[in-house]
Amino acid sequence: MKILVTAKRIPDPTQKLKLKDNALDFSGANWQLNQFDEYSVEAALRLTEDGANTAVRHGQVTVASLGPADVATQLRSALAMGADKAIRVDAKDDELDASIVAKTLAKLVEREKPELVLMGKLAADNEGNDVGQRLAAILGWPQATFACSIQVVDGGKAVLVGREVDAGVEVKKVQLPAVVTVDLRIVSPHAVKSGRTKPEFAYAEGPRYATLKGIRAANTKPFEQLTFAQLGVTAKATTKVLKVEMPPARQAGKKVGSVAELVEKLQKEAKVI
């Protein structure tokens, strides 16, 4: 199967945020691959291999990102995990919005002709949760968002996707080509069933680490750099962030000495029981 995986860099979520001129200040940010995108790289690899022999790739996994030159670091990390090819579309972080990203990805899809686009369900920084759905709309493809499991069916013509929805798990079948966005549990041991991996095979929980060999190989894998102009993208942003503020800090409260004191406080002070 030919899969296009999308990747966005985000500032390390454990770093304290800083503001400058009503915007987030990223001058000291440690950039990393958005976790959900890392999970989609993992899912793409699982879909194109036999879990018992991950050295052979059946199909092709291409990872694409829009961003400045430094994004190469995150793309290389995906190549080191096992992806075959990377594409970077040159862009400044702050000129992008969901609409421009989706339209650019649509152009990449035209060019690369994947059967499946795998994406993180959201970027953990901006939490937009909308690029995949927009892309599917533009392409006229079916979509399966918030995937916690994915199984190749109908001889590779469709996928059966378990979706984490508010009421539980919804199972949805989509014909390929399709857009699938992944949730956390897509990296649990039995979440991805490629048809090639034996059903009883259990993956290690979580995305795989790059091996030393993988890191070395990453430097020799195809790495394409493109511009909006080359792709024919002329889209304008449909949204703009006007300002960013810190939310009012929650006051740390007090420690209570006993359960009896806690219950008294909840009853008399907070009046919630």
Binding site: E164, D166, M246
Partner: protein
């Protein structure tokens, strides 16, 4: 500005609570933008829910019914919402940021080439909204630049609207050609629970990895039942299979804002805090005095749950029987 079209979720012939939050959001936008306020309901049989929706003072309630629309699919619903928005001159399309809203509304926006303000917590003006980003550690004001605005509201930030009486005209709209684009609903795997819904409960009791085993959640369930609350969990507890995944609270789970949130054996990772920081009163019970959860807790108790929860049950029973 033009009119406002609000997508209302319904199930079992009734409006879902999320629909009432969507109405609250749309009323706030309507105040800022004017125009007609229109509701749309889609399904195989939405007549009763539409009658209910007619009591909220909208200028019209539109229903789209067809057997093929029985189960929600983004592929079939999105083109209908987009088409009706055009027909009705709607320049705002609103809904609630549930798992349906988050799946549907960006697809509608993709069809209409419109900007989305996703998961907003407040309305600044007809085109400007406030929303939490970076796991709730920053608040963004976002402006939609396109002529059409698509917006979804975070359920906990828009209280359920109250009916305003009166009766809006209900009009059936043709579904038109329905094309699922090769998508098919197979099944919903769900568990019926007797307790209130996590996102709507007044009290939420959540357990974390420190609960050690699924069967230990029984004691938290007792606490829930005593307080009329819902059970929640951290990701670690869900991943370990102690409780079903749909109980997860946090950035990737449910966002809750009850009057009382009790976090038991949860460390307080930022992704967890993102889902419960908006609670009115937070209680943390954790054996580690340094756990970050204590930084957001109004009341913290440093001890094991094995010791604290049985005592807590006994104390609360005492006051319940006294009152």
């Amino acid at each position: 500005m033009g009119n406002i079209l609000v997508f209302l979720e319904q199930a079992d012939r009734r409006l879902r609570p999320a629909a009432l939050s969507a109405i609250s959001l749309s009323r706030a936008i309507h105040k800022a933008s004017g125009g007609k306020l229109l509701f749309v309901l889609i399904g195989d049989s939405v007549g009763d829910a539409a009658k209910e929706a007619a009591q909220f003072g909208a200028d019209g309630v539109l229903t789209v019914e067809a057997p093929a629309l029985k189960h929600y699919l983004a592929e079939t619903y999105a083109p209908i919402v987009a088409r009706i928005a055009k027909e009705q001159g709607a320049t705002t399309i609103a809904g609630c940021a549930t798992s349906v809203g988050k799946d549907l509304l960006p697809r509608v926006a993709g069809i209409l080439d419109a900007g989305v303000a996703p998961d907003v917590s407040g309305v600044v003006s007809a085109k400007q909204f406030r929303r939490a980003v970076n796991a709730g550690n920053a608040l963004q004001t976002i402006e939609v630049l396109s002529d059409v605005v698509v917006v979804s509201g975070r359920q906990t930030d828009f209280p359920r609207a109250a009916a305003s009486g009166g009766s809006s005209p209900v009009t059936a709209v043709a579904a038109g050609a329905i094309d699922a684009k090769g998508a098919e609903f197979v099944e919903l795997q769900t568990q019926k629970r007797d307790r209130p819904d996590l996102t709507e409960a007044r009290v939420v009791v959540s357990g974390g990895r420190g609960m050690k085993e699924g069967k230990n959640f029984a004691i938290l369930e007792q606490l829930c039942d005593l307080l009329g609350g819902a059970l929640g969990a951290s990701r670690a507890a869900c991943d370990a299979g102690m409780v079903p995944n749909d109980l997860q609270v946090g950035q990737t789970g449910k966002v809750v804002a009850p009057d009382l949130y009790i976090a038991v054996a949860i460390s307080g990772a930022i992704q967890h805090l993102a889902g419960m920081k908006g609670s009115k009163v937070i209680v943390a019970i954790n054996k580690d005095a340094e756990a970050p959860i204590f930084q957001v807790a109004d009341y913290g108790l440093v001890t094991t749950w094995e010791k604290a929860i049985p005592e807590l049950l006994a104390e609360i029973k005492k006051i319940k029987s006294a009152s």
